[in-house]
Amino acid sequence: MHEFSIATALVDLVKQHCPPGEKVERVSVSAGPMRGIEPSAMQWAWEAAIDETFLEGSELDLKIELWQMRCPACKKIFAAKNMFEPCECGCETTSPVEGNELKLISLTLADPPGPPENTSWTSPLSKTC
């Protein structure tokens, strides 16, 4: 169940980026296929990890990227559903390229109910980190 460790790591990381007092609606994550993350296990782990935290009720948008396979014959790099998928050119000995990324891509914040009272807030992203 590495999905649970990834989910708790994600909660800690989001905490660093979320402006105080804001409500996070959605957390978008991209994962390479090498990581072996199971989407349904990840959703379950996310629900468990955000329980009784500031992220309770937020949604996890997980995108598992396709494999990128390189063909040794025609040198093409193509997206594939499965590792070792043969190339269009007929070559059977394709190799996977990278595919191990695991990134927090973005946070979607809920719209404030009325006009914002305090507009002096600056994103933590504008500071150097």
Partner: protein
């Protein structure tokens, strides 16, 4: 409103791993994160290696296990610098557990530190601990498709060991296929055939000694 971020999800783990890495480097120690399925022979290999290198290389071991201290006890017969890390439900070690483990080990006494990760071929690979290299352990009893089914360790490892070669006559294992799969995933990784229980570990021991020498020079 969308806030773009694009940051490694395991960033906080990786930051602690960097602290471990600096500590290990400053002590002049070479550190291996050993990753393989339960039962592939990680502890057996450590026992044989410690026996073999006693008096030549000073090796310490951090061993991650879900609950028992049995592996640590097995290793402690051959080595005084062994620390058990119980992960409870965790299926891998993380950098923080290793940081705590390091506090219980005198790195100044060591040439090599081996971290025996929790038996699992998938998730330990993603968690940087501060090691110099990852070593993947397979065994021929597991079947010849295991490299293709666990490409992440093949991609990330500096060295792969294929253990239990003494069982070759009793199991069907297509070595050529296994090697070919590995080569397609990572053409740089070395593969060594060993038997921990029979003591067929000459290549591995030589590799270990080379790492220590290149660390010193």
């Amino acid at each position: 409103m969308d806030i773009p971020i694009v940051e490694n999800v395991l960033k906080l783990n990786d930051e602690v791993a960097q602290i471990n890495r600096a500590k290990i480097r400053d002590a002049g120690v070479f550190c291996i994160d050993m990753i393989g399925s339960p039962g592939c022979g990680k502890t057996a290999l450590l026992e044989t290696t410690l026996k073999h290198l006693a008096g030549q290389l000073r090796i310490g071991v951090l061993v991650g296990d879900l609950t028992t201290t049995r592996d640590a006890q097995r290793i402690a017969q051959w080595c005084s610098d062994v620390v058990q890390i119980n992960t409870g439900k965790g299926c891998h070690l993380d950098a923080n557990q290793v940081r705590q483990g390091l506090e219980q080990i005198d790195l100044a006494n060591l040439d090599i530190l081996v971290i025996e990760n929790v038996g699992n071929l998938i998730c330990p690979v993603g968690f940087d601990l501060g090691q110099n290299v990852k070593v993947g352990v397979f065994s021929i009893a597991e079947g010849d498709d295991k490299a293709a089914k666990h490409p992440y360790i093949v991609q990330e490892a500096e060295l792969l060991l294929l253990n239990k070669m003494d069982l070759k006559p009793y199991v069907s294992f297509d070595l050529r296929q296994f090697r070919e799969d590995i080569d397609r995933i990572n053409s740089d990784v070395q593969l060594m055939e060993i038997s921990a229980t029979e003591g067929w570990i000459a290549d591995w021991v030589q590799w270990l000694s080379r790492q220590v020498v290149s660390k010193v020079s």
